[in-house]
Amino acid sequence: MNRETLDLSRMTVEDLFRAKQERRKRLARLPFEEKIAIVERLQTVSKALKGEKPIFAEFLRACPDFAGEPIAEWDVVEEWYAKRNLTAPDHPFDKRPDVIARTVSGKKIGVELKSWVNRDQIAEARKQENIQDNLLKAIGKQPPNNTQHIGYVWLSEKNVRFDTRDAADFRQQIFALIKEVDQNWSQTPDHEQNLWKDRSDLADFPILQKYLNRVRYHSKTRPHSHNWIKFRFPSPSSLKSHFSPKTMRDTLERALLEHRDDNRYKDLKKHVGLDEVYLLVHYNFKAFAYNPPFKSPDFGFKEAAEFASSVLNGDGGHFDRIFLFHFLIGKEEAFNIL
């Protein structure tokens, strides 16, 4: 379809439907091998971009008029070219922006998706998870708690990569230490009043000392028969308690300013043939799971959007519009922040 020869103001839904039909017929006429090549490209695209498609689909549901008018068609960038059998622009513009859409009036819009996450925190959280998993694996299946005084045990791990060759010694030493603490429980002063005891001197247990900061023993107030040896702060929630909501606001501010001025988007319109380029910053499950909450009693998503808008101060840089999208199932919310 050549837009220059069309009067877009007279375009109807039937015209769009007809255009789609034409496209399908054109694709159907391709040689079989060429069609299979398209199927294979679609498979690759689909695997690579599974994350972006649902985000934009939900955003569109939450904010159908984000472009100021309804959207007639859209796709993630590779699918945009593959499905229509169009030649993509030269690299790197063949992969930018993440989503391409066309409005009912024919305006071609590009949308770049950016996640509001602190990647350093995610990497750190995953690393801790890995360490904890390995230590729990070394302990293996936990036997019934036959101690006399200990209800459950909290481990506090060091930030040290676990060497699987230490697994047997780790298991042997943790149970030896528990036995020792249990036997000496009544010798500690005020033992009846104490709800727990900490043990950070692990010099007699070198493998435990290598991997643990301390071990906390909770008194046996009620039975804990299963998995009674655990981590005090299971990742990633441990990290959540170590950062304030301000950390996430700083992350948002940095993401907005860095992206706004990122020169990769400078000539995007020209190279891809777009009329407008938007930025969609989304808060998704990854951020929810691995990052501290951005919310506080007097600061919700609406306030986050106002904050983001004040950060931009009317300057979207290379973007014509910027949106903030809360992408958690059942809590989707979108704000135009520029």
Binding site: R23, R24, K25, L27, A28, L30, F32, E33, K35, I36, I38, V39, E40, L42, Q43, S46
Partner: protein
């Protein structure tokens, strides 16, 4: 997909299957526009019957395993494609395999259901997306409607087709 075809042809040459033909989504793509799919439905005929009198895919799975292709719940993954082997269990499917088109693909040849057999099989199968594909095929210029009608009459689908034409408001009222 060429590598998958190579494997199928080798399997046939080695006598593991006598005849095969690709139906389903990949056959559909031959006649209409491409869409995303990662499985290949391979219909085989005649069917091998095991010791208990049940249809057996065992020789195929063993053969492919020896070539390094692992079976999964729904089929066998061959060169990144999920290949599902479907024993032809009715006269329509048997005929679809028997009369499949020999189609060049790269340096190989493969066998694909004709548009008419594909539409008839989709009509028989009757799942919602199969119906949508039947409509698309019938409305395309890829079908020989006379041959299609003969197929559905021959395999007892005439009544279903009559209802289908009315339900989907096809122009083919008889």
């Amino acid at each position: 997909m060429e590598k998958v075809i190579q494997v199928l042809n080798r399997m046939q040459a080695d006598g593991v299957v006598e005849k095969y033909a690709i139906g389903g989504g990949i056959a559909f793509v031959r006649y209409l526009e491409p869409y995303e799919t990662d499985d290949i439905d391979v219909f085989i005929s005649p069917v091998t019957v095991g010791q208990m009198g049940l249809v057996s895919l065992e020789p195929i799975y063993t053969y492919l395993k020896n070539l390094g292709y692992e079976a999964v719940k729904e089929g066998v993954v061959v060169e990144g494609w999920l290949v599902q082997f479907v024993p032809a269990f009715n006269s329509l499917q048997e005929e679809a395999v028997e009369k499949a088109h020999r189609v060049p693909f790269g340096k190989e040849y493969t066998y694909l259901f004709s548009a008419e057999h594909l539409a008839a099989e989709l009509l028989r199968s009757g799942r919602p997306h199969d119906h949508a594909r039947t409509v698309a095929l019938v409305e395309s210029d890829q079908m020989e409607m006379k041959a299609f009608r003969e197929i559905i009459n021959r395999h007892g689908l005439a009544k279903i087709w009559k209802k289908f034409v009315i339900r989907f408001e096809l122009e083919e009222h008889e």
